[in-house]
Amino acid sequence: MKRKIFFRLMLAVAAFAMIAFVVPQEQKKGGPWEIPKEYKEKKNPFKDDASLVKLGRTIYNKHCRSCHGNAGLGDGVMAKNQKTFPGDFSSAEFHKYTDGELYFMSIIGRDEMPNFEKKITDEEERWAVINYIRTMKK
């Protein structure tokens, strides 16, 4: 009887171990963004305003760093809990987006990327974050 229980237990452990190997552990990459035209064409009124970099860093550290990481590599402390990889802000692919597109992705959001309209209420502060993210090029 005891041998039977032991055998079943071992079988369960082995099955669990095999499932662990089979189930993919990586985060999925986010699909393409559907960005409305008004945001694609949205102009950054604070483009190249160096005085906003410090403000942008402060807001990034407060709202974004926990998922996106210090350097925007998508390696923040909360990133592992997300189903979708938060993105690499240093990649050339990322910097192909226009400022307006980055505004939509950062402030309006989708799925696991939250909406920040109520948390970052000032327009200048929103663009300051975009400007700061722009400094994260490789």
Binding site: L55, R57, N61, K62, S66, N115, K118, K119, D122, E125
Partner: protein
């Protein structure tokens, strides 16, 4: 006393009218404080409209026993307050909280009459805070001639603050407290003043400080002399702010959680080391 009240009411009226004037291009300064509370005090900051806040406040025992109870962390008699606040419309917040000491239920309202502006068109932020608390202890704790009204106490405060720069914000306040019934030797009415502020030292962390002084005003006291007047409240703390939370860890010299209790019943003397550790956690949800 009536004259002071009239001046305060007139001041609030004038400021409210100014707040309703045509909006100019001078925008409000960036948030002078990271949350609506600062150790035991209120700040002029109210989150965006339709924000729900859940506050968890906890104070441990006094630190004077040293290592025997790990500076009060393991002392009996800790105080707890749980509260919910909601921002109904821009700059108007209401709330409810429940404390362990005297099982106070407090109903509060805060209104930021005017925010400080960037080009100093309006150089300070002005807010008013008021609450009504209901003492929730058993009937027997109120002695003879019990009436439900004996449980009520009221607190009102005018807050004037200024964000001086990226790292320094300071506030001053004047308050009036009224208890319907108090213990012998304690006044029903108390006027107090105080100041508090924050010093930012990183993008998410600040040092907080506060000092509140219950005033000894002869014209409103009911006693010939003050035998055991309420003591000033000193506090110093550390604040960490994230996107959805504000955390405070602090040392404070009052064991209460609501301002009227701190103003009237604080017997701890910080000059003699009567301080206690505490912490607050505020969780924000935006709707």
């Amino acid at each position: 006393m009536k004259r002071i009240l009239l001046i305060v009411i007139a001041l609030i009226g004038v400021l409210s009218l100014m707040a309703q004037e045509e909006p100019t291009k001078d925008r409000p300064v960036r948030a002078p404080f990271n949350s609506g509370i600062l150790i035991d005090n209120q700040t002029s900051v109210i989150p965006a409209d339709k924000t729900l806040e859940f506050q968890i406040q906890h104070k441990f025992g006094k630190i004077d026993n040293g290592f025997s109870d790990l500076f009060g962390l393991y002392a009996p008699g800790a105080n707890i307050r749980l509260a919910l606040n909601y921002v109904l419309i821009k700059n108007l917040q209401i709330g409810y909280g429940l404390s362990r000491i005297r099982m106070y239920s407090d109903f509060s309202i805060k209104y930021t009459i005017h925010e400080q502006t960037r080009r100093n068109t309006f150089p300070v932020a002005v807010a008013v805070f008021a609450n009504m608390a209901v003492d929730g202890r058993n009937k027997s704790d109120f002695g003879n001639n019990y009436k439900f009204g004996n449980r009520y106490s009221y607190f009102s405060q005018l807050i004037v603050g200024r964000r001086f720069n990226d790292w320094l914000s300071v506030q001053a306040n004047a308050s009036f407290t009224h208890y319907n019934i108090t213990e012998p030797g304690i006044d029903h009415d108390k006027v107090s003043v105080g100041f508090n502020g924050r010093i930012n030292f990183s993008s998410q962390s600040s040092i907080l400080f506060q000092y509140d002084i219950p005033l000894k005003i002869k014209s409103i006291t009911e006693h010939r002399e003050w035998t055991n007047p309420a003591k000033p409240n000193l506090g110093i703390g550390w604040e960490i702010r994230t996107s959805t939370h504000a955390f405070h860890i602090y040392l404070s010299s009052t064991d209460g959680m609501i301002p009227q209790h701190n103003t009237v019943y604080n017997t701890n003397d910080w000059t003699k080391g009567d301080m206690m550790f505490g912490f607050s956690i505020v969780r924000f949800w935006n709707f």
